[in-house]
Chain length 205, copies 2
């Protein structure tokens, strides 16, 4: 069975949805470790309650480069056997850009969820971007992480209708509901080795 | 009742779907004129059969500027009473960029359909762009035309699932089916004065 590491910065609601799916035996993967770059991340308590090991690698005040920070992450992942051979890394509200070295080492083994239908509205505040654009639909995308910003191959996308009355808050809530559905689904596909990546296109078998 | 002018370059299948909706009394608008920039556009024959006036303003070999060409279009539209006060202009596979002067004169009265969920995959070959990107969903967008490339306020968007087996041809076909549904719908909303534009956001009442 694969070992899963999840990187968080805050509440990690997507982390929670993944861990709960694992608990319900819906995903054949071992939840090895939750790593936060903030010691006060609420997700740490949630993970502990669910019986999963947690580690903090404080990024605030860290003096080294992004690559050096990520080396610390890789060290902890390795300690918990979340390796490029036998691991999967999920970003769940992890508010840091990962280094090209990390991406390269865990090639097609780091996945992220983005609250928009990529390539639309990449980067921060996607829901606000969608509202400001006047989009009639938006959604979320689970994708592999590559060296770019929200640019890796897409695994699953879910669509959400944008209503005229939607605010950033209501739209975020609707999208989050879909995130909690498709992120565990994508992890499950990965754990069961159902995803094939060919260039930018993924195939689900 | 408003007067409708439709600009085409080829078969104009969206033109046909709009004209047929008007015939079925589904849209309260007068189909005043079809203008093609190509004398051999197949849509001309289709429009004639449906009893709609056609005009050709050949763009091939036209020596003047884009603004000068568009002046000829405006002249013909005016002749058929498709005016900035009383008209609507639909682009239906019209393979020319319209000039800022034309857009300004007919502000929020020119609409277009684009075979993607804008702002994703603007410009040409959107279906191929979606496949190359590995998008899991795509669709089409009816939008007002502004001075940019596929950037005006969106009126309606429809979603289409991208299947792994999809080719440019099959995806285009699926999207076209949705185009033929939402373009007449948008024209109908416009004709019934149901669309309010506020900045980039449109409101349907």
């Amino acid at each position: 069975m694969l070992n899963l590491g999840i990187l968080i910065s805050g509440r990690g609601s997507n982390m929670e949805s993944i861990l709960k799916s694992i608990k319900k035996k819906k995903i054949p993967i071992n939840p090895a470790v939750i790593i936060s770059n903030k010691s006060d991340a609420k997700g740490l308590g949630i993970a502990k309650k669910l019986g999963v090991a947690v580690e903090v690698i404080e990024s605030k005040g860290f003096k080294g480069s992004r690559t050096e920070y990520d080396k610390k992450i890789i060290k902890v992942l390795t300690k918990y056997k979340v390796t490029p051979k036998n691991g999967l890394v999920c970003l769940a509200g992890f508010m840091r850009i990962v280094s090209p070295e990390f991406v390269k080492k865990y090639r097609n083994r780091i996945i992220n969820i983005h609250p928009a239908l990529l390539p639309a509205f990449p980067g921060l505040n996607s829901q606000k971007q969608a509202l400001d654009y006047g989009a009639k639909v938006s959604g979320c995308s689970v994708h592999f992480v590559d060296a770019g910003m929200d640019t890796g191959p897409v695994i699953i996308q879910a669509v959400v209708k944008v209503d005229e009355k939607d605010t950033e808050k209501t739209l975020s809530k609707k999208i989050l509901k879909e995130e909690h559905r498709i992120y565990p689904e994508a992890v499950s596909l990965f754990a069961r080795k159902k995803i094939k990546v060919s260039g930018r296109r993924t195939k689900i078998s």
